[in-house]
């Protein structure tokens, strides 16, 4: 615990379920799937021909010439960041820019730019490679663009921990405010790699669902018929703020980011520890850091990606670290897996669940796996009093990040 409280005062997102937070949340509560068939010509040769593509293409929001110099992951980070900034009331508030930091990560970075420019290099030679290539593909690009456009001068940071990136970026934001280095941190994650190479790579690992003939039912965490994750794209950005700073300006507060726990497995480059020991330690650290007791945590937005091994390992970790009382959900059943943006989007869902006293559903959980002995809000949203909630994120590389949010 630290003497400095950190609250969430702004939310922004563009996702497979909607072009902003409100439409995304409405779709989640309605149990809609954002997964569809990939109709692009390049998809025909792939073993995986489904994905959760953005509901609103960034080119509908950002003008053409500016889009030319943005990787898709950068464009959507900017869209979500501007939404969150406006939502926080800090836009045009006269806040000291030297007290505003950015912590925005991506799991893979500007892969679409890298691959598209490589196509140009092969076809037309080096002189035709865009001079915008490097700032478009660099992994700090999304954070740097957000910092530039919001005039944040207390430091721009870009963590990378695969599918834990979005959550770790929030944890870093919490640290930055607690340590006094900024009053406000614009934090979250972004990912846009619906492209044949990343899909072929994940498919080669046998990590993805191949339920190509039934896209909306492909992402089915904890269901016996699950066969891997469904790739999604999107961005989620939160405005984190020192609580007394937010109070002094009369800001609307969504929730408190009460604690974070970060561990690493030290076990395998991609396989999670079979008993989820790293996850257990991360959850326990987050709870301890938050100062709440495990019994206050009535809801968990689980990492649960719809892979055969990972989903059930997390159940064991939750039982050990939290208990058997929380109501779980896996919103990836609807949004797909946004990789480096997942932790940020799911934090937004967790915060709105607290606000609305409503757990969004886990769709497609028709035939629960043996051993699923914790309660899940299957099929339908479920009303629930939520004084505190947990959001888990785990990433290739053995990264485990747990975040605890509490009612403001």
């Amino acid at each position: 615990m630290s003497g400095i409280d950190v609250v969430v005062t702004g939310l922004g997102a563009t996702t497979p379920l909607g072009g902003d937070v409100a439409s995304t949340w409405d779709a989640m509560l309605a149990g809609r799937s954002g997964v569809s068939a990939l109709t692009q010509e390049w998809a025909a040769q792939l073993p995986v021909r489904i994905a959760a593509s953005l509901a609103v293409d960034p080119s509908e929001v950002i003008e053409r010439v500016k889009m030319r110099r943005l990787d898709r992951s950068e464009a959507i980070a900017l869209i979500a960041a501007h939404q969150a900034w406006a939502d926080s009331g800090l836009k045009d508030s006269g806040i000291d820019s030297e007290r505003v930091a950015v912590s925005v990560g991506s799991g893979i970075g500007g892969a679409q730019t890298l691959l598209n420019q490589d196509d140009i290099l092969e076809a037309h030679g080096p002189r035709r490679v865009s001079p915008h290539t490097v700032p478009m593909l660099m992994p700090n690009g999304p954070a740097a663009w957000v910092g530039l456009e919001l005039n944040a001068k207390a430091g721009v940071h870009s963590v990378a921990s695969a599918c834990a990136t979005g959550a770790e970026a929030l944890a870093l934001g919490l640290d930055i405010i607690r340590s006094g280095r900024a009053d406000v941190v614009v934090a979250g994650g972004t990912e846009a790699v619906i492209h044949p190479l990343p899909i072929a790579g994940f498919a080669a690992m046998r990590a993805m669902s191949t339920r190509n003939d039934d896209p909306e039912r492909a992402s089915r965490p904890w269901d016996k018929g699950r066969d891997g994750f469904v790739l999604g794209e999107g961005a989620g950005i939160l405005v984190l703020e020192r609580a007394d700073h937010a109070a002094a300006r009369g800001a609307h507060v969504y929730a408190r980011l009460a604690g974070a726990g970060i561990t690493s497995d030290g076990y395998d480059i991609v396989q999670p520890h079979p008993e989820g020991l790293g996850a257990v330690r991360a959850i326990r650290k987050a709870i301890e850091d938050s100062g709440v007791s495990a019994s206050d945590i009535t809801h968990v937005n689980a990492h649960a990606t719809s892979t055969p091994v990972g989903d059930m390992a997390e159940i064991g970790a939750l039982r050990a670290a939290v208990g058997d009382h929380p109501i779980l959900t896996a919103t990836k059943s609807m949004s797909g897996h946004l990789l480096g943006a997942a932790g940020a989007l799911e934090s937004i869902a967790t915060i709105l669940a607290i606000r609305d006293s409503m757990v969004p559903p886990t769709i497609n959980l028709d035939d629960p796996e043996d051993g699923l002995d914790l309660e899940v809000a299957a099929h339908k949203a479920r009303p629930l009093d939520i004084p505190a909630a947990l959001n888990n994120s785990f990433g290739f590389g053995g990264h485990n990040v747990a975040l605890v949010f509490t009612r403001a």
Binding site: E63, V65, S130, P131
Partner: protein, 80 residues
């Protein structure tokens, strides 16, 4: 052989595509950086596109001398 007006108009198309410049604003006396807001990276794109469109080579050490649209028109006219 293109006339100066045709080259200016061709540069206008490139500037619109690459940098969002209104082609009506493109005239020989306009400075790329001061009047048309073309930054250094966009200028690289303009040069590469102009080379292709007009069949000229514009070496990097020549680009710094192309301050105005008229400078570029003259270079293309003399070297294409």
């Amino acid at each position: 052989m293109a006339t100066r007006a045709e080259i200016t108009s061709g540069l206008g198309e490139i500037l619109e595509e690459v940098a969002g410049v209104n082609p009506d604003d493109v005239a020989e006396e306009k400075s790329f950086t001061d009047d048309l807001d073309v930054d250094s990276l966009s200028m690289v794109e303009v040069v590469v596109a102009a080379e292709e469109k007009f069949g000229v080579k514009i070496p990097d050490n020549e680009v710094q001398n192309l301050k105005t649209v008229g400078d570029a028109v003259s270079y293309i006219e003399a070297n294409s």
